[in-house]
Amino acid sequence: MATITRRIFLKRFSWTGLLLWALRIGVLVIVLWGSISTLASGRYSASTWLALLIAGLAQGSIYALIALGYSLVYGILLMINFAHGEVFMAGIFTSVFLAEALEESGFLARHPFLTIGALLLLSMAVSTTVALLLERIAYRPLRNAPRLVPLITAIGASFFLQYAFRGFFGSGFKVYPEFGRMMGQWNIFGANIQVVQVAVFLAALVMMAGLYWFVERTKTGKSMRAVSEDKEIAALMGIDVNRVIVITFAIGGMLAGAAGVLRGVYQPQGISFFMGFVPGLKAFTAAVLGGIGNIPGAMLGGLFLGVFEGIGPNLILQGLGIPAANQLKDVIAIVMLVIVLIFRPQGLLGERLAEEKA
């Protein structure tokens, strides 16, 4: 036992250890100090926090759906599909034209649910196509390359897709029909809750659960897990690895397409070629936060990130007296990613990956 205490003692007094502890304490102090002084100021009522929480959950649901695609691909290929945000963009950007056409023809007003269904179909089809093309053209030739090579390709693909879509559809901002406004709002405890917020949240939850069931219970899902454990052995067991990878990308694309429609329903404005980049980064953060490769983790990470982004600036930064705190929302998200990666690289729900060098 003596040796154990001594070992910890030794470890604590290494410089990096000290630094990490200082960082840990520093972050904690900043968060607590900011939060307490904000709460003490009494600027915001409980219903305000509730409204922010709900908004954060809805935003987080969209992140979560994109994050699922990241997580799935990472779980199986151990690669970050950096262009996944663009897969998301492709679906919604294309479907906006169908939405416009349906709105103009009056079909939307008559059958709003059918319209959403049609948009969902188109968006998912386009996103899936883009995801599969990506896999076939940019990633498959590099399947056995070192880890960073496909990442670089993915970055290239990301920019290629952005600007290709800008070339196709122009750089203007498109608008989705206002489904959200049609749904109305509820007043709960003095907070305005949009029905669409709840709908987005539930839709994401259902899709996540469906995916979980698919991966855990179906035969294809099992072969996916086998491939993620070990590609060679899975191949030896008679699993068609290529097919599994294609299915993985297809599912990721479908979820991204669905996320696109949810985004359009929840936030109809500002649909453009660039709309995938930032949510893509956020979704990656969410996936890492929840434990990359872990399906419920991606969901949890997305929700957590959404809520943190929504509440964080008002709760923490304002208390510190930082002006225009909401401007630093993205900074909070990135700092959170860094902190998670330093202190808990396996994420909230992730298991420690096989003995990686400490």
């Binding site: 040796t3 154990i4 001594r6 070992r7 030794l10 470890k11 290494s14 003995e355 060098k357 400490a358």
Partner: protein
């Protein structure tokens, strides 16, 4: 007086699996000790613990009066322990000579400023590093000398890669060499040569050697002492002759009836 090298009650667990279980080992300076055991017995894990790649869950490791637990691999190398790997791991795109010069890293001190301005001290150090690296390569006869110096490592044959890896470890000017299956994949003639080489390493260069080996002829041929482990625990220790008669050893290598029954 503290031993040259000593590990006390080392424990390393991976999840539910105990890879190394209360492992004790003492090595005196100038000894050649071989570490044998069935596959998965925890031999390489012990190497990784000693060289700082893993930190033990329990136990202590002492080397010439230093406690190695909690040190990082490069610090341990600096103290004088160098290793080779089971799967040869060279810097394949560096030249043969550069590979060995990297081994000299801890014996140099020049930094960025030296490299840019190249004062006399830097040039003297580079010359010394090069000279010593060449000397290490010379240890293997003509195999790694001459035009080979400037060949990238990936152009070498398998056996030469093994040799180069040992030369690289030698170049760290360690006191204790840990060789992980130095003859794996070699043909009988090369194996014989390697066996002699291990002996020469001690006799001519004064290294203390701990090595993992499966080939019993090598073990028999060169070790002063043999340590047998199974399930991360030492099950026998002694000369080759002693160990080869030990019933635990036979059981470990030949069958596990008693264990299964238990």
């Amino acid at each position: 007086m503290a031993a040259f090298f000593e590990s006390k009650e080392l424990v390393k667990k991976f999840g539910g699996l105990t890879a190394v279980n209360r492992f004790d080992l003492k090595i005196e300076e100038g000894e050649i000790v071989s570490l044998i055991g069935p596959n998965g017995a925890g031999k390489t894990t012990i190497f990784n613990l000693v060289t700082g790649f893993y930190s033990p869950d329990e136990g202590a490791i002492y080397f010439r009066g230093h406690d190695l637990v909690g040190m990082s691999p490069h610090q341990i190398t600096g103290l004088g322990i160098a290793r080779t790997f089971q799967t040869v791991r060279l810097f394949l795109n560096m030249t043969v000579l550069e590979n060995v010069m990297v081994g000299q890293h801890t014996r140099g001190s020049s930094g960025v400023f030296g490299a840019i301005f190249r004062p006399p001290s830097y040039r003297a150090e580079e010359a010394r590093i090069r000279e010593r690296a060449e000397a290490q390569l010379g240890f293997f006869g003509t195999r790694l000398t001459g035009y080979r110096h400037d060949q990238p490592a990936f152009m070498l044959s398998y056996a030469n890669r093994r040799r180069l890896e040992i030369a690289r470890a030698m170049a760290t000017e360690a006191k204790l060499l840990l060789l992980d299956e130095p003859t794996a994949g070699m043909n009988p003639r090369e194996t014989q040569e390697m066996t002699e080489l291990i002996g020469r390493l001690r006799d001519e260069r004064g290294f203390t050697i701990l090595f993992i080996e499966h080939d019993m002829r090598v073990v028999k041929g060169v070790s002063d002492r043999v340590v047998v482990i199974d399930y991360g625990r030492q099950i026998a220790e002694g000369t080759y002759a002693e160990v080869s008669q030990d019933e635990h050893v036979l059981e470990a290598y030949l069958g596990r009836k008693t264990k299964d029954a238990a």
